[in-house]
Subunit: 201 residues, 2 copies
Amino acid sequence: MIRVLLAEDQGMMRGALALLLDLEDDMEVVAQVAAGDEIVPAALEHTPDIALLDIELPGRSGLDAAAELRQKLPGCAVLILTTFGRPGHLRRAMEAGASGFLVKDRPVEELAVSIRRVRDGERVIDPALAAAALSAGPNPLTQREREALNAAVDGATVADIADRLSLSRATVRNYLSSAIGKTGTRNRMEAVREARRNGWL
Amino acid sequence: MIRVLLAEDQGMMRGALALLLDLEDDMEVVAQVAAGDEIVPAALEHTPDIALLDIELPGRSGLDAAAELRQKLPGCAVLILTTFGRPGHLRRAMEAGASGFLVKDRPVEELAVSIRRVRDGERVIDPALAAAALSAGPNPLTQREREALNAAVDGATVADIADRLSLSRATVRNYLSSAIGKTGTRNRMEAVREARRNGWL
DNA sequence: GCGTACCCGTGACATTTGTCCTGCCGCACT
DNA sequence: AGTGCGGCAGGACAAATGTCACGGGTACGC
């Protein structure tokens, strides 16, 4: 019996996946959480064999939780299940010790299959995505550039960002300009989009 | 037997929902589509009793398709199933003749229940969302203001937008400025966010 | 007919944004 | 000891953005 922990914020998706996995006669969903910061506590309590984690979660990123989970509960394999196939996300997932990376676009049938393959020690990664991650190269943005871009997503002005990061406005503009240069874009919004697309944020 | 058409772009979600609905002994998924422009043709071919439509779809909006569907196949009720509870979307759904409006945040169990209630002629709407839609008032943006905002989402410059809409740059700036004023925001990005939040785009 | 709302445009203006150059500091690597 | 990189900041400048005041045109309702 494969014991599964399920982390997914959208109630309908979470419920549907849980029902489906419970239908498989060699699987059992032992814990369901909707927020990133509930993952590790729930895993420690229920000691699942496999953690099925979304990335975009309230409270804490699934990638973040995955890293801690691998440390505190090495017996539990991590399978990332996410909406977008961002090269940077795949890279970070592998660095965090994940055993697999699935995108929600694929048919449901693959899910149970992938879980079993992970249980058998295999790694499950979409070949096309793996190629994209290798060709895209590592994240070129520095910590501060990421923070500046992240603070700029919702239309904040330079002054807003400077306040939030406790920096000078000149410094913020330098970071943004640098990020725009590195992403090969024309303004901060394009830079945000490009960085997001690559999973650099 | 309730015959259901399912329109949802995310493969895993679509497959999971289809499996779940097929498990109900009074329901049958007779057609599945992944794009908005496949909805009407598929419905005309399979004549379902209920169309379960996502809003954000490639090719064509689910709301758009819903309006045509109600005209060409009045016997088929429309149930909108969407990620975000935007007041403007609810309003447009009602104007298009939808019988219900569900957000994907709710537990799966509600789905089958809602479908049966719609079949019985009831209307299914989250009360909190209905209140929000009423208090938000109608869409204040004109057609052109919407187009300008939509063209500005990905960081396009005024020149880009002007080219795409075949307008003068000065005109585009006026539309954007007007939209910024109507949304009570400080720049185009905040305006886009606010308009999106309300379902005005 | 008149008012109103939308469409489209121009010109002027202040502000914001993006770029480039300069400088200082600390840290790591050689 | 020197080099490079990242963090941090300031100044100067051109370009983009947002605002405002002003036109003209069409359509619709009263």
